[in-house]
């Protein structure tokens, strides 16, 4: 079971101090948050992707590569990578590069993005969001698994004899989570490919997230990737922790009340009652998080949102201390004791390399020499199946 934190990368005015951080301050802060996440013993850090203010994370692989260089153990991920407005070819290239630099300590979560104006800025149309997401992933999947891809679809210019470089590290593609809260097609795609399914369990009650998690598990089994219990499920969550319950409520309230997503709407108490949000002592956060396991069964990744709505760096780092020292160790122990031996471990690069090669040699492809035409043709690598075909002079 992996525990981590994810950020949407919002730059929001701190409602208590009245200060809005600069982009520079917030970018510096997010690096510190990620490094701290490793220090306190968390497993995963994930960053969102946005292409409009007030967000800073337009270039997640650059940020994550930097964090990879500053950490040793932390798995770097996204929440989410826009599979709609990004070209799947660029995603294949950028995330494979990140995978090499991070020595496999990365994966990614795909999402659609719900900001309508962003789509036309990248030549797309939000009304086509779902077919775009599905088709783009179909291509991304192949780009990481086939050295040479011929492809034609509805949304992108066709590819002939295209090789996405670098090839994934050890020829093992980055693990992919498909994020969705209400789209059965996305859960189906995750199940079809045997990829992970991530439910951002924040705004809706647990019963809502459970529907598609159960559907995904059933379809995962249907497609022969393993039993329902072996399906790979990730869950988002939102917590604010203080030693004493009443301090948690007091400290968090101004940030909740003015939060861009739910501020000025429901009260903190209504929202805590009706959704998975936990605001309270470590024990209260532990208890509420354990109810997710009651509903979803064994799952592989629990992420917490802890840095949004203008919370200052110091407060976020304090949250990480509490999460790492008082909440996650108890959850690890408690969930390990409840774990069904049949359920899967969280996938890592090492476990996926092992699954593919056992103790055998690992493929690390070496390109053939450049033939002077800058096109590698059908057999770009020395171990490619077909012999290189040279054009007649």
């Amino acid at each position: 079971m992996q525990f981590g934190v994810f950020s949407v990368s919002d730059i929001t005015r701190d409602p208590v101090s009245g200060e809005t951080p600069s982009e520079a301050e917030r970018i510096e802060a997010i690096v510190k948050i990620a490094v701290k996440a490793e220090e306190v013993g968390l497993d995963v850090f994930a960053i969102g992707e946005h292409h409009n203010p007030p967000f800073f994370s337009s270039s997640p692989t650059t940020l994550l590569a930097h964090i990879a260089a500053l950490t040793e153990r932390l798995v770097l991920s996204t929440a989410t990578t826009l599979i709609t407005t990004n070209d799947p070819v660029r995603l294949a290239e950028e995330y494979a590069m990140l995978q090499h630099l991070a020595k496999g300590r990365m994966d990614l979560m795909l999402g659609r993005g719900n900001t309508a104006p962003v789509y036309p800025w990248f030549g797309q149309d939000i009304r086509q969001g779902l077919p775009l997401a599905l088709e783009h992933y179909n291509l991304l999947h192949r780009l990481w698994r086939e050295d040479v891809v011929d492809w034609e679809g509805e949304f992108r210019t066709p590819l002939q004899g295209f090789t996405s470089t670098p090839r994934p590290l050890d020829d093992v593609p980055p693990f992919v989570w498909h994020g969705s809260i209400r789209t059965p097609e996305i859960a189906e795609q995750a199940a079809f490919y045997g990829n992970g399914y991530f439910a951002n369990h924040i705004f809706w009650p647990t019963s809502h997230s459970k529907r598609l998690i159960d559907f995904y598990r059933q379809r995962f089994e249907h497609y022969g990737h393993g039993t329902r219990k072996q399906a790979i499920v990730g869950v988002g969550g939102h917590a604010y922790i203080a030693k004493r319950s009443q301090d948690a409520v007091k400290e968090f309230r101004p940030y909740f009340d003015e939060a861009p997503v739910y501020g000025n709407g429901p009260s903190l108490e209504e929202f805590t009652r009706g959704t998975p949000l936990s605001v309270g002592s470590p024990q209260e956060v532990i208890d509420k998080t354990l109810t997710f396991h009651d509903a979803f069964g064994d799952y592989q990744r629990q992420m917490f949102l802890i840095d949004h709505a203008g919370m200052p760096l110091k407060m976020v780092l304090n949250q990480l201390d509490l999460l790492g020292e008082e909440v996650v160790p108890v959850l690890r122990k408690e969930l390990a004791s409840r774990r069904d031996p049949e359920s899967a471990e969280a996938p890592t690069h090492a476990s996926r390399v092992k699954a593919k090669y056992g103790d055998g040699p690992v493929r690390r492809p070496r390109p053939n020499a450049n033939r002077g035409d800058n096109v590698t043709g059908a057999s770009p690598y020395q171990d490619s199946d077909a012999a290189a075909e040279y054009p007649a002079l």
């Binding site: 149309d125 059965p184 097609e185 189906e188 079809f192 209504e270």
Partner: protein
């Protein structure tokens, strides 16, 4: 008047839900909606039929309605009312007119409902106002909202300005609307549309108040999700 009794198998009473946007207590909007519901009940009794009535005073849901407008959260009262409307055989929807429009509370409530919750359900539209100059608000504004929700609004709308409350003509209009909605309930129109044609309407996963949970695995999008092609390009 048709005195044909209901089919013997329909022994369940009709479920009528009154939604009132009135804000005072008692409010004239609630009084008007109650009169319509009472008339439906009386007419039904004459025909050997029973009608149960549930009343939703939107005033009591005001906080949850605004919460639902600005966040994704559906409160416990909203959840109960949505269940009630999902099971309703017909609805009496009454709004006070403010600034030449149905009240914001009334409109907001219907704005946050799932688009497919009320498909084909018979609805009597009613409104109250301080002046007869607002009379067309019902047919001009409320009717289009309920058309969007694809409800079966009855032909007679019931509008009452201050001077209508002691007019016999208001009673006549109430009777006309009540008969219309009763006949629609008797016909089983909503039930038949929903059982025979539900799939022809647009739905989202979890819509219709959380009851729409069928997943069709044979669609173009599902083929695309599983590595196939989406078929011919959709119109942009």
């Amino acid at each position: 008047m048709n005195d044909r009794p209901r089919e013997p198998e329909h022994t369940e009473p009709f479920r009528l839900v009154v939604v009132s946007g009135g804000t005072s207590d008692p409010s004239s909007t609630r009084m008007l909606a109650d009169r319509i519901a009472d008339r439906v009940r009386t007419l039904a009794a004459d025909r050997g039929e029973r009608v149960t009535t549930d009343v939703v005073d939107l005033r009591e849901l005001a906080n949850e309605i605004t919460t639902a407008l600005v966040s994704q959260l559906t409160g416990p009262k909203m959840t109960r009312v949505i269940e009630l409307l999902g099971r309703a055989d017909a609805i009496v929807a009454g709004a006070p007119v403010y600034k030449a429009a149905p009240s914001g509370l009334f409109s907001s409530f219907f704005h946050v409902l799932d688009n497919d919750l009320l498909i084909a359900k018979p609805v009597v539209l009613a409104a109250t106002a301080g002046t007869a100059r607002h009379a067309l608000v019902v047919d001009d504004q409320m009717r289009s909202l309920f058309a969007y929700l694809r409800t079966m609004t009855v032909p007679t709308s019931v509008f009452a300005a201050t001077e209508d409350w002691n007019s016999t003509e208001l009673g006549e209009r109430i009777t006309r609307a009540a008969i219309e909605v009763l006949l629609l309930m008797e016909s089983g129109f909503a039930e038949k549309v929903r059982s025979e044609s539900w799939q022809h309407y647009q739905h989202e996963y979890g819509s219709a108040g959380g009851t729409e949970l069928e997943i069709d695995l044979s669609t173009d999008l599902m083929r695309l999700a599983t590595g196939g092609s989406a078929g011919p390009r959709r119109k942009q």
